[in-house]
């Protein structure tokens, strides 16, 4: 089929856009490469649409010949008939090609938009996400890009058939009889008079509410599915998924109001433009002009055939109006996302010297009115293990999030190998530091891919080695397809197992700096012990930062830092801190007292030896 070839010539399926130059492009800029394609669509459509007039004109001409008094020229009649048939064929060819190309172009453009959005979303500051709902963003990438469809696939064709054809017809009809042309325009004028009623500020506000309500449905449905366990456990008579139902009711409410406001007008407009009504108007006018105005009966024919076409622009406006409006608003939302400034990358990245991590007087808050970290000074020397302990909410995870630059400190600096993170190439940074975050996140991909997340080209032996170190290898072998099992689709894992996969992930990355945020919270004592031993053998030149609540985990660290309310309350070797009898010692005691009030007397805590 020629359509695809034509489209293919102008737009080769491009690889995912390179992050660099593409990011600055606007929505319009993105469309530029497709302009030749659009031009083809429009030209083909024009040719097809005009050729489509041929059969109608053939009927008109036939009428003239048949109704004229005098002998009928057979040759002329057959010429007219053939011309009409040829016109039809040309129309078929060109409109089919145009619509094919238009749709192919459309899906290309959608792909480009989606890739661009994905690329941008992968570079905006992480903090930006926490204020947004996943469902709404996903809707921008999915549905909103899809809503651009009428703009691209239909607009050229519709605009042509809505304006070029009527224009040509109008000119032709005027040459036939200007009075009847004006009469033929009456239904159009009636319909146009109704258009302003559909675009009042109220209508427009309703449209916006409509979109807002739809967005809320999208986001509540993501919550609905992901929080389904909670929905079930607390969902007595629909309480927990009420958010979804409320969003739906809001939406339907807006829709109802909109329907009530618009449906009467829309139906009236449809009526004014309907063929029977237009024909009636033309016939009444025609009858009057034929009886009293000297209109040749044959001249009525073009009005009966072409007159209906004059309503097309208004019909298109009425019918395609909603779609086009919706598309415009969708483009607005897409542009909003594309315009979010990405996390700035240094123009001249500096290479780090070594991998000592230094935090100097770091202050940070998620919002201006609440500081979470209040002046942290901390040095992580290569080859040492630093443990952070502290009450929940004291800022431990926040501190860890500054290292991958999920957030930049509001004051002070975080440096790696003597270079501020903001001057470091982000790839270099991610190569140097690997993380196990507190919130485990596995991808719906094979176990091997999950473990090799940061090292996509790792071979299976390395993956297996990391899995063994994280004490999860045996469990993986028990999965239906071992390392090839797709998590989430083919099998699920328990909380502790998932944690160990993400630990294996960090171990495989083999980065000189390893950060573990409560990495074994779900692990049973035996697993925890195994993991700790594995880490100990890994240590060597590595810099390790662990956050843990179990003091057994912390006891082996070179340095313990007690974080309290965003400040470092104590630091030192574990044994020294216990001897000091400060916060750390108090933590330790609270745990011991909990044990002591039981009746079990086996296994005197060896921690006491630290004293």
């Amino acid at each position: 089929m020629t359509t695809t070839d034509l489209a293919g010539a102008s737009v080769r399926s491009t690889p995912p856009p390179d992050a660099g130059p593409a990011t600055g492009r606007s929505a319009a800029g993105l469309l530029r490469p497709y302009l030749p394609g659009f031009a083809t669509v429009v030209v083909f459509q024009v040719i097809g649409a005009i050729a489509g007039l041929a059969p109608l004109l053939a009927v008109v001409e036939l009428g003239r010949v048949l109704l004229s008094s005098g002998p009928v020229d057979h040759g002329h009649v057959w010429f007219v008939v053939v011309a009409g048939a040829v016109g039809l064929f040309v129309r078929l060819l060109f409109t089919a090609a145009s619509s094919g190309i238009g749709h192919v172009l459309d899906s290309r453009v959608q792909l480009t938009f989606r890739r661009q959005l994905a690329a941008r979303l992968g570079r905006v500051p992480i903090g930006w996400f926490s204020r947004r709902r996943t469902g709404e963003l996903a809707k921008v990438v999915g549905e909103d890009v899809g809503a651009v469809h009428p703009f691209i696939a239909h607009a050229p064709a519709e605009l042509v058939s809505a304006f070029v054809v009527p224009l040509v017809s109008l000119v032709y009809l005027f040459t036939v009889d200007w009075r009847l042309t004006l009469i033929t325009l009456v239904p159009v004028v009636l319909a146009v008079a109704l258009v302003p009623l559909m675009t009042t500020p109220t209508r427009r506000r309703e449209q916006e509410e409509f979109d807002g309500a739809m967005g809320r449905i999208s986001s509540s449905v993501v919550e609905f599915v992901q929080g389904i366990a909670v929905v079930k456990a607390f969902g007595g008579s629909g309480r927990a998924h009420r958010r979804f139902l409320t969003a739906a009711d809001d939406f339907v409410g807006v829709f109802f109001r909109w329907v009530r406001g618009v449906s009467g007008i829309a139906a009236g407009m449809q009526l004014a433009l309907s063929p029977p009504f237009v024909l009636l108007v033309v016939l009444i006018g025609g009858a009057a002009l034929i009886t009293d105005g000297g209109l040749a009966p044959a001249d009525l024919l073009p009005f009966l055939l072409l007159g209906l076409g004059l309503t097309a622009p208004v019909a298109a406006l009425g019918h395609g109006f909603d779609d086009l409006q919706a598309a415009r608003r969708a483009v607005g939302r897409i542009r909003d996302v594309l315009q979010v400034p990405p996390l700035p990358e240094p123009a001249h990245p500096v290479a780090p010297r070594g991998h000592r991590v230094e935090l100097r007087d770091v202050r940070f808050g998620y919002s201006d009115d609440h500081e979470v970290l209040r002046g942290i000074d901390l040095v992580l020397d290569p080859g040492t293990v630093t443990a952070i302990v502290g009450p929940s909410g004291s800022g431990k995870s926040t501190l860890v999030r500054l290292l991958p630059r999920f957030f930049d400190p509001t004051r002070g600096s975080v440096a790696l190998g003597g270079v501020d993170l903001r001057e470091l190439d982000s790839r270099e940074l991610y190569r140097t530091v690997s993380f196990v975050f507190q919130d485990v996140r596995l991808l719906r991909a094979s176990v091997a891919d999950n473990i090799a997340l940061a090292v996509p080209d790792a071979d299976l032996d390395d993956v297996v080695r990391a899995a063994r170190l994280a004490d999860i290898h045996d469990r993986i072998l028990a999965l239906p397809r071992g390392y090839e099992t797709v998590l989430g689709d083919e099998a699920g894992l328990s909380g502790g197992e998932a944690q160990r996969i993400s630990l294996a992930r960090a171990l495989l990355a083999d980065a000189p700096v390893l950060v573990l945020d409560e990495a074994t919270a779900f692990a049973d004592p035996r697993t925890e012990q195994a993991v700790r031993r594995a880490l100990a053998t890994q240590a060597g030149e590595r810099t390790i930062l662990v956050i843990a609540h179990r003091l057994e985990t912390v006891a082996d660290a070179d340095t313990v830092v007690v974080l309290e309310n965003g400040r470092i309350a104590e630091r030192g070797k574990p044994a020294e801190l216990l001897a000091q009898d400060g916060k750390f010692a108090a933590f330790w005691r609270s745990r011991r007292s909990a044990i002591a009030d039981g009746t079990g007397t086996r296994g005197v805590p060896r921690g006491d030896e630290l004293r």
């Binding site: 059969p55 996400f129 709902r133 993501v222 929080g227 629909g238 909410g393 699920g492 745990r591």
Partner: protein
Amino acid sequence: MIRMLLRVLGREYTRPMRRTVALMAVTAIAEGLSYALLVPVLRALFGSNPGDARPWLAAFGAAVAVYAVLRYRSDLSGFRVGATLLRGLYHRFGNHLARLPIGRYSAGRVGEVSVMAGRGLLQAMGVAAHLLAPFISACVTPLTIVVVMLAFDWRMGLAASVAVPVVAAIQHRTGRSMAAVDAERAERDHEATARVVEYLQAQPVLRAGGRTAERFRLLDDSLLAVERASHRTILSALPGAVALTLAVQAMFTVLLVLGAHLALGGNIGAAEVLTFLVLAARCADPLLSLSDLGGRLRSARSVLARLDTVLGTEPLPEAREPIRPEGHDVEFDSVSFRHGDRTVVDDVSLSVPEGQRLAVVGPSGAGKSTLLQLLARFYDVDAGAVRVGGVDVRDIDGEVLMAQIAIVFQEVYLFDGTIEENVRLGRPDAADAEVRAAAAAAQLDEVVERLPGGWSTKVGEGGALLSGGERQRVSIARALLKNAPIVLLDEVTSALDPVNETAVHEGIERLMRGRTVVMVAHRLRTVQRADRVAFLDGGRIVEQGSHDELLRRGGRYADFWDISMAG
């Protein structure tokens, strides 16, 4: 199509829907019939005595007026029915989803469900509001016109009616051949949506792994697959559209030729021929719009089919005559449960008398969480029975069972909203004092005091704006507030520091006195206060007894305790 729509909608919409469809069909017939009057009108106008047209013209005017009334009413009725349907659909869909077994919710489902709830339902509703009327009119009006032609001139009428079976056959074939492509396309759409959600939510992990959009193939592949699928759809729709256009145009050409031939032979009046050609043009336009309408109807139908599948999926079977449990004791009777081929719970028998506490201990992956989920009937057992108050959970009404049980999950999920809203989800009508008591027991009061937003602090989607320990405390308070007689706690203090952990457990103990409690814990000091301890490994109970008994026995449990102590 309409049958499926009706099935998806439920019975209460059958009548308004039928009425609307009937109204639309009558309107279309009225349109076609009104054209019959064009014949005498034009015959008069093209003839020697144009004045004769007047009465016929008046008749045509009256017919158009009838058509106008019908059309207006059927348009409005379409809109109304559409909007009413939408509301019913959303509720039906939402309530049904909430009742589906949890096993149906894998990560990939997010895409399908959100596409369905968004564009999908709207599209299904659009069938009634926007598509049905033009579609019915595009089918019925030309048919009526053909009948009118037959009535006036059998030769022209016959030529026109040849097109009817051809067009019908083409539509039918296109519909059939497109079904697979459409389904595939919907599939790709869902997959891509699920990937986008995953991509957005996994940003921290992806970035730390150096995987931005360019290097996250899974997402790009799914986007590319959407493009491919939509290409395939276009390519497979094209032949149908071209064939339809060809058939319609061939009909028009045949009528043109036949008309010219008959007129030249003097077998038919010029006025008649011309009128028929005007009518033929009236036939052609709606028929040509069929391919576009058909496409849109088809995609609406594929959405409906999916909805139909989802709504047709049985929720966990409900007991025909539910039994109300009397007590609040809990019993596992030789329970086995499998995830796929893997036996996760293997012949477990356990019982917890009312008001007692059972601690479940064991390595991760032993099946502890699964045990709690079976108790809450998130899944049904494969063998044996789980009983609450002596009644098999399968014989208890779902809502009644849920009212008996408060759960704190291992993986905390909070809904986007404030801390207070999330806690109150436990029991919306709870008094403020009760909310405060639950918060105090869960050590949440400390959090509320510390955060600048207090009770109205936003927790973010899933609870992402809180620290792990804060989130956990919100979910504990939520469960405590529920005040249910049976409490299930799954590693509920894993993200808490020792001081808070001790305090939370004391709080739970205080507030949950007299309740039946099943808790999973790794930190043995939380366990030692339980009345009984069960040690689970590989889905089997290895040891069972009180903390002291088990320690004295020196078995697996005692080993665990030693390791935990030894560091």
